[in-house]
């Protein structure tokens, strides 16, 4: 299919992502994929897309796209000011755009990643089973890199439902309710004594500026671990909360390393991961230990 979307003003950071790349962690390849898959799945449902259809994950600032063909889009994830040809538009709804229309994200109001989905998905080559961009390896997405002004994107045919038959759960945007992020105890939970755990659970952490798709650093009260710090590097996972020697947590995110040697005090539960991933610099987060994961409904 021909080029259909032109990036006329790229934001500081935008990449193409789908639900991620599994099966290659033993080659050191992180899973990548949408940081907020919950929103991505909802947008794909709104458009009748395959759940794994790729979309634009847009961060840090404003910018604009021009559609060079008619298309149906939906925007969600972080709260933003969205304008189509200068007119305000709503998130979480299908929007019909005509050739020549300009879709502008004026700015991000709350949250980290705005998702722009197109009916049919963004058509980029599949690399190691996924269209997700992994910048560190220069693979996936558009030439393995972030979007730049002037880039052209093709629309795919990754649809599963005729447009007129789409039904979806109109739950709209999740708001960051301020509820604690639920975790389970990590593999090195016992390295941390009661006082350290109390600090961990009673501290309101701030998401540091030094956060990206590889990991989020949290500022707050430092925690020390009682056990030996010498831990042979072991496999990690998205949402793992590591406590390095400095004592403030680093949470491994989707493009983060597949292995790590810092003790993992806890791991964020799947049900809270999208909400956590949407936290922007300066957002506040508290953690609470949730049920063990044995409670599969």
């Amino acid at each position: 299919m021909s080029d259909a979307i032109t990036v006329i003003a790229a934001p500081p950071f935008a990449t193409i992502q789908d639900l991620g790349r599994v099966g290659f962690r033993d080659s050191g390849v992180p899973v990548s994929g949408l940081a907020d898959p919950e929103s991505g799945l909802l947008l794909n449902a709104i458009l009748g897309n395959d759940p794994n259809a790729a979309m634009i994950e847009w961060a840090v600032g404003g910018g604009a796209l021009r559609f060079d063909c008619a298309a149906k889009i939906a925007v969600g994830g972080a709260e933003s000011i969205l304008r189509i040809n200068g007119v305000n538009a709503d998130p979480w709804l299908p929007i019909v755009v005509a050739s020549g229309d300009e879709v502008k994200i004026e700015r991000i109001v709350r949250g980290r990643f705005v998702l722009i989905a197109v009916r049919g998905g963004i058509d980029v080559p599949v690399v190691l089973g996924s269209r997700s961009t992994l910048l560190s390896a220069g693979i996936g997405g558009l030439d393995g890199r972030r979007l730049r002004t002037g880039d052209q994107l093709s629309i795919g045919d990754h649809v599963v439902t005729p447009y007129d038959n789409i039904e979806y759960d109109k739950r709209g945007s999740r708001t960051n309710s301020g509820e604690p992020v639920t975790v389970i105890r990590g593999p090195q939970a016992s390295f941390f004594d009661d006082a350290a755990w109390a600090t961990f659970l009673n501290t309101e952490y701030l998401v540091s500026r030094a956060s990206d798709r590889s990991g989020y650093r949290l500022d707050g009260v430092a925690i020390s671990h009682s056990g030996s710090a010498a831990l042979p590097s072991e496999p990690a996972c998205v949402g793992a909360i590591q406590i390095p020697d400095g004592g403030t947590p680093i949470v491994i995110m989707h493009d983060g390393p597949t292995v790590g040697g810092y003790p993992k005090i806890a791991v964020i539960r799947d049900s809270c991961l999208s909400r956590f991933a949407q936290m922007a610099t300066g957002d506040r987060v508290r953690f609470a230990v949730g049920s063990s994961g044995f409670d599969i409904a």
Binding site: V22, G23, F24, R25, D26, S27, G28, V29, P30, V127, L128, L134, S136, A137, G138, I139, I184, G186, P187, P232, S233, E234, P235, A236, C237, V238, G239, A240, P257, T258, V259, K264, V267, I268, R269, D270, S271, S292, G293, F294, I296
Partner: protein, 216 residues
């Protein structure tokens, strides 16, 4: 302390099996043998099996299968006492130009001439302990004792792809441009990570590696 191996939950979608707390080659052989058995059994909804130094992780789709189910299947598989099998190891030869920016400093700190240093680095067949840190980055050991140095005090922000490096008792090739704190002693043009290859990492845990000096 529970007896090894210990199975723990690693998030909603993964479990971690610990075979020992201390790194050794023999532990690695057991880890990889168990990883192969789990992979070969093709447990449903398991997406990744990742061996490390003393542990392995099994990742699964928690919407389709519970931790309890995967955990008991894995426990049965690894409980098979005499099933440890040797690595089906590849020997990979990596051509190296010994032109790294830290070569002279490493020679000086180890009290070797550059030729002696290169000779020592090339003289061993290394074993691959673990792949991780970055796509295609594989930790190789053990270095000749005379080459053992702590990491650089200030890591480089940008290590060039193909850099051959040493730190502690280990050596490795940086497959991609990444930050890094190891001493860079040479360069290879061999692609350590190639997304068009399956598996994409040239060297994987259990393999053997020799470095071969080339000129130019």
């Amino acid at each position: 302390m529970a007896e090894f191996p210990i199975i723990q939950q690693l998030g909603d979608d993964a479990l971690l099996v610990t075979f020992a707390h201390t790194i050794s080659w023999d532990v690695g052989v057991r880890v990889r043998s168990a990883a192969r058995r789990i992979r070969d059994t093709q447990l449903s909804s398991v997406t990744d099996v990742v061996p490390a130094y003393t542990t392995l992780a099994v990742y699964f789709d928690s919407r389709a299968v519970s931790f309890a189910t995967v955990s008991s299947e894995v426990a049965t598989l690894i409980g098979d006492a005499d099933a440890a099998s040797d690595d089906s190891s590849k020997l990979i030869e990596i051509p190296v130009r010994y032109d790294g920016p830290d070569l002279a400093e490493v020679a000086e700190r180890t009290g070797l001439t550059q030729d002696e240093l290169i000779e020592k680095h090339c003289s061993r067949t290394y074993r691959a302990y673990m792949t991780g840190f970055a796509p295609g980055f594989t930790y190789l050991g053990d270095l000749d004792e005379t080459l053992v140095l702590p990491r650089r005090t200030s890591p480089r922000v940008r290590v060039p792809a193909g850099s051959v490096a040493i730190a502690g008792a280990q050596t490795a090739v940086y497959p991609l441009v990444t930050p890094g704190g190891w001493h860079l002693i040479g360069t290879t043009s061999m692609a350590m990570f190639d997304p068009a290859r399956d598996p994409p990492s040239l060297v994987r845990a259990g393999d053997s590696v020799r470095f071969v000096r080339v000129d130019g």
